[in-house]
Amino acid sequence: MRKPILEAVGLGKRYGKQAALQGVGFEVYAGEIISVLGPSGCGKSTLLQLIAGLAQPDEGELRMRGAVIANASRSVPPEKRGMNMVFQDYALWPHMSVFDNIAYGLRRQKKAEAVIRSDIAELVRLLHLQGLEDRLPPQLSGGQQQRVAIARALATKPDLLLLDEPLSNLDMRLRIEMRAEMAYLFRRLGTTVFHVTHDPDEAFSMADRIIIMRAGGIDQIDTPQACYRRPATRSAALLLGAGNQLRGRVLRHGEYASLQVDGAEIQGVPPALGAAVRPGEEARVLWRPDAAQWSPDPDCAGEAVELVTSAQAETAAGQDSVRRSNGREAGAAVLAEARSSGGEAAWPLMADTLAEVPKGASALPVRIVHSVFEGGHWRVLARTAEDQSLTFLHEEPLPAGAAGRLLLQAARTFIYRIEEEG
Amino acid sequence: STNNAASGNAEGGGAQAANESTSTTGAGGNAAAAEAGANTAENASANAPKSDEPLVVYLNDFDEIIKPMFEEATGYKLELVTGNGAELASRIEAEKGNPHWDVLWMDAMPMIDQLGKNGQLLENWTPANKEGLTDFAKGLIPASGAYYPTGAHAASVIVYNTKAYDAASAPKTWQELADAKFKDAVGMADPAVAAPAYPFVAWFFQSQGAEAAQGYFESLMKNGLRVYPKNPNVAKALTGGEIKAAALQESNAYTLKAKGEPVDIIWPAEGAPASVRVAAIQKETEHADAAKAFVEFLLDPKTQQALIDQGEESYFEPSAQGVKAKADRAAEAKLVVAEAAWAGEHEGEIKQWFADQAVK
């Protein structure tokens, strides 16, 4: 079995009375890319500081290749740990040019000046910093500063690289490009990476495993797929995009649990951790806006269709009918396809017979509040019978006041106990 | 003291004299050094490792000329630490555990007298040149022979600015300084800070009694007396016009006059309290021969004459007979001295009184 390169056991850190981290434990294997996701203020940066050796744990232990590098009484200094870090606030040295900032670590390694030059030329290319080498940090834009910070950290080719929200100030295109290039680079160099981010897409696309944190502790450590499919806690589900949450009362418990929510029965995956939900207790049900499918009530259907028609008129002729393939709204379509493809259809929904709810799905009656354009789709705000609000994605705007039902797939609907707050 | 006869013939502080004088002291600890002193420096270094070390003298004047004069005359090497009297006194006191000086030569007789009382000075040694001293000087030598005076000068004379007064209107007695005529016009150095100012006030306290003296100085202060930290400050204030008359150290006064400043000097008839410059040897000195040679040298009339002719502080009354004081020094200069032992004993309280006056 592989030996972990880094192990944390029961790490704790407090600032004054407030505990920023407690009982944090995990293992990282050589060459792995670990992404840390967690809400603002949950202790991600603090964790990186402990690993880097910039702060000392109050409790617990950190081991690197089996040797203790930090506990409450001792701490190997950062410069002896063979790591490097991109700081959330960059921490560029304002008195040094971009080149000198990047070259700093290489000079510490006593590299030849020619080697330094070529290494940096490479990094500058990778990070699109050409022509900025002689600038001072204050003469750069925010995104450029961030890229310099990344280049500086990459330059030393560390064993373990700590990245604190390294791409937060870059535009989407650059971010996607950079994360692909960085992931490729890390895999090629075999760099172990510990990567804090607030962008689930970034975590999914770069990470071998994801650590999901909440309030100073770890909620879940697993592969991106596993985290995506079954978030361990309500907080993890929220972080991973399940932005809709309703309260209800547990009806049944089993492989799927079900909840009485504002009159409707909603099926979903029960929590993986902790005690099972018991019938009768209050619980929450969460799902991603893109996991629900809108189906208008028959009597409103005409209205809905009309709006769709007017929306069509609004766009360039002929484009609209295919415009919908854009995105996350396509639940119904998928189902339709599933049916038409003749496979073992789990959800035999008829597009025209809306009263029928497919197996493995639940229907939630809602009323539309309003719709917001979001690029490939519209985000629709709606309310349940008892005024809990929720959003879902739809290919077209829906008229305010329209009534209908949202079809939720049990496998993509998550149920959590109330006390698992956070 | 029986030893002084042995070197009675010696004039100047020659090595010869030093040899003879020590050989008769019987101070065994000094024998090796004494021998070394008799020989050349090279020979000496073979016998006693310390003997080629220079003699260290703490002094507050004459530092420019005394070193070459002495070295030339005796062959001993000399090293000087110069400073104002108060600083040197502190330094000496602080060094008490491990003194660095061999000889003190300062115009701080009460302080040195106290050192003698505390047993820090070499006693019971009589320099050959003692006989050649004036009666005035002989009268100042303590019974223990712990120090010998090399000269005396007025700690204060009355000096006035000739632009403000003429000979007639100028103050002529100490008492007159308290006169309303001289309100806000008189200055002096602070006895609590300036070393030479102490002998001046000490004489008042001893001769008039503490109460009368305090009354006198209080009346001066009421009359707007300005008290400067040191004598040079007084001198500057006088020439600068800040004050018009002052009780100023004699040498400062004559220096001003010699430089052509518009000042004149008055020697009060009742006498000017004197500051006596004395030389004393450290008890544990490792260079006793050189030290004695140095004291002999200072008591030598020729040396004193040279100091008067070439020295910086040349205005003083020599302690050796047959030495002529500076030509422009007043002939009728009358010096009065507070008894050293008394002044030494009361120094603390008198200075304290003055310091406390600063509050009022």
Binding site: Q49, A52, G53 | E242
Partner: protein, 565 residues
């Protein structure tokens, strides 16, 4: 950042040990005289502790304490305002004569205070230059009173505040000021509420230096306060030390009160800086470059000229006059270069003294810079338990008159047993170097701490992550970011220790004359012209050295800007 702790702790102990040896031990040696008067001479008799309470009984002592406090507080407030204001103006605007201001500041700083005092006395006395040349008879009454003394002190001590604050103005927190403007603050409000408070550490350092230096100064108050009696603690200390039987115990008791004053000042500072953070240097920080004002450039220039005329012209001008005439009475004698000629032909006493002083001062400044830098590091970045103690000790040597410290040095470094271990430093030039270092540490540490407070630990942490060890981090990140302050600190230390009279006069080894001893001696011999000439020559030389050093070190800034543009 917090992890700089461990290192900080080790370094903290080292610095504490060094400061104890250099400063605290000598002082303690004097203060302990209260408890055990004979301890260094092998007597272990218990002293009279009631001496410590005498401050409330003896009128002189009590008045001294009161006066010192009044003088210290008054001067601190005024000099900090003046120095800070000048520094702010100088850092923000370029105007004609700005360079002169720098020179003036250095001049004031290196010139011994008794010389400055003399200049003021010559100028303002009843028959002084002001009265005789300008007919300003009123000036006399204005100057020779407590308020006047404070004013003169202010004009002499503001350079400490100026340099401490100017050093911290090297970097601009412009983004933070911008944020204030966006929230509706006028430029002045933004300066008042954001930019100035961010300078608080530097301002506090400057104020502290002024306070401590004022409280510890003997020469200036003693010379000005002749007409009105105004004894201060140093005065009482002098009178205790200059009174035989010499009362080290009294000096110790009084020094103890000086130390209490420092503690008092530090408490005030602590209160002012409580809980706030001042580390604004980020990737957005830019170097401060003085700009030409759009309007009112001439106003600045002439204001500056006027100010310099008072602060420099009066004290140094009078001395300069003295150096050419040998007399305060300018009319007499006429001009002569004689005094300057005399400097160089009297078998070189001055020259060797000057060389000795420069040697000692340079060595002391360099070592003090090193120590001060590390001490500032401990104060700024570590959580070392005894940080406050270190902080307090660094100030002691400025507040306690040099002579007290000098005596302490004798006590400590003149113990017979030291000879056997080859450490009998008293009587060798080493003792002067040690004392010089001790004397320079307060200034150096304060100035650096003020600037260091701006540098977030994050920037050091970043270097650490790049594999830079402790020394390297300091050398490549911290030192360059605080360069301005480091330079000021080193030069101040150098300049002021060249003329540090009190210490060298009590400690100088036989035949090792130093410049201040030579000057003081000339002064005591009433060779005022010579003394003035020697002072001005020495000061001039020191200023030239300082300016040359500045020129060598500072232009890096200009080239940096060029590559940036």
């Amino acid at each position: 950042m917090r992890a700089l702790f461990k290192q900080g702790d080790r370094l903290g102990w080292l610095m504490l040990a060094l400061l104890v040896v250099l400063i605290l031990l000598p002082l303690a040696a004097v203060v302990i005289q209260v408890l055990l008067p004979g301890v260094f001479f092998g007597r272990f008799a218990l002293g009279d502790l009631s001496l410590l309470l005498d401050i409330f009984k003896r009128p002189l002592w009590f008045a001294s304490l009161k006066n010192s406090l009044l003088l210290g507080v008054g001067t601190t407030v005024l000099a900090t305002l003046l120095g800070g204001g000048l520094a702010a103006v100088r850092a923000r605007w370029a105007f004609a004569g700005a360079r002169l201001l720098d020179i003036a500041v250095w001049l004031l700083l290196v010139t011994p205070s008794f010389i400055l005092a003399q200049g003021w006395v010559m100028f303002a006395s009843a028959d002084g230059l002001a009265a005789s040349w300008l007919g300003w008879r009123w000036l006399h009454d204005l100057v020779f009173q407590p308020a006047g003394l404070i004013a003169v002190m202010t004009l002499s001590k503001f350079p400490l505040a100026y340099l401490a604050i100017h050093g911290a103005l090297a970097w601009k927190a412009s983004r933070l000021g911008d944020a204030a403007r966006m929230s509706g603050a006028s430029p002045w409000t933004a300066w008042r509420t954001i930019e100035a408070p961010l300078l608080l550490p530097a301002i506090a350092s400057g104020a502290m230096l002024v306070f401590v230096d004022t409280v510890g100064d003997f020469g200036l108050p003693a010379s000005i306060a002749t007409v009105f009696r105004f004894p201060t603690l140093p005065y009482s200390i002098y009178s205790a030390l200059y009174t035989s039987p010499i009362r080290f115990d009294m000096a110790g008791a009084l020094s103890f009160y000086l130390v209490l004053l420092i503690v008092f000042a530090m408490l005030v500072q602590l209160l002012a800086l409580r809980r706030a953070r001042f580390d604004f240097l980020s990737s957005r920080a830019v170097k401060n470059e003085p700009r030409r004002p759009r309007r009112g450039g001439w106003l600045l220039a002439s204001g500056n000229a006027l100010f310099l005329a008072a602060a420099i012209g009066i004290p140094l001008g009078s001395n300069a006059l003295m150096s050419f005439t040998g007399s305060a009475d300018a009319g007499a004698g006429g001009m002569t270069m004689a005094h300057y000629k005399a400097l160089f032909n009297e078998n070189g006493a001055l020259l060797t003294g000057l060389l000795h002083s420069l040697e000692i001062a340079a060595g002391a400044a360099i070592i003090a810079l090193l120590i001060g830098f590390l001490v500032a590091y401990v104060l700024t970045y570590s959580q070392f338990k005894f940080r406050r103690t270190i902080d307090a000790i660094t100030l002691v040597s400025l507040a306690v008159p040099g002579i007290v410290l000098g005596i302490g040095y004798i006590f400590i470094w003149n113990q017979a047993w030291l000879e056997h271990v080859g450490l009998l430093l008293y009587g060798t030039p080493w003792i002067l170097a040690l004392a010089g270092i001790a004397g320079a540490i307060p200034v150096v540490t304060r100035m650096i701490t003020g600037a260091m407070a701006q540098v977030p630990g994050q920037l050091l942490a970043a270097a650490q992550m790049q594999g830079a060890g402790f020394a390297l981090r300091l050398r490549t990140i911290l030192a360059p970011l605080t360069k301005g302050a480091l330079l000021s600190a080193a030069l101040t230390a150098f300049g002021s220790s060249v003329f540090d009279l009190a210490i060298s006069s009590i400690l100088y080894p036989p035949n090792y004359m130093t410049l201040p001893v030579v000057i003081n001696k000339a002064f005591e011999d009433l060779k005022f012209g010579y003394a003035a000439a020697a002072t001005l020559t020495g000061a001039g030389l020191v200023i030239i050295i300082i300016l040359v050093l500045e020129l060598i070190v500072r232009p890096a800034r200009r080239t940096e800007r060029k590559t940036a543009a």
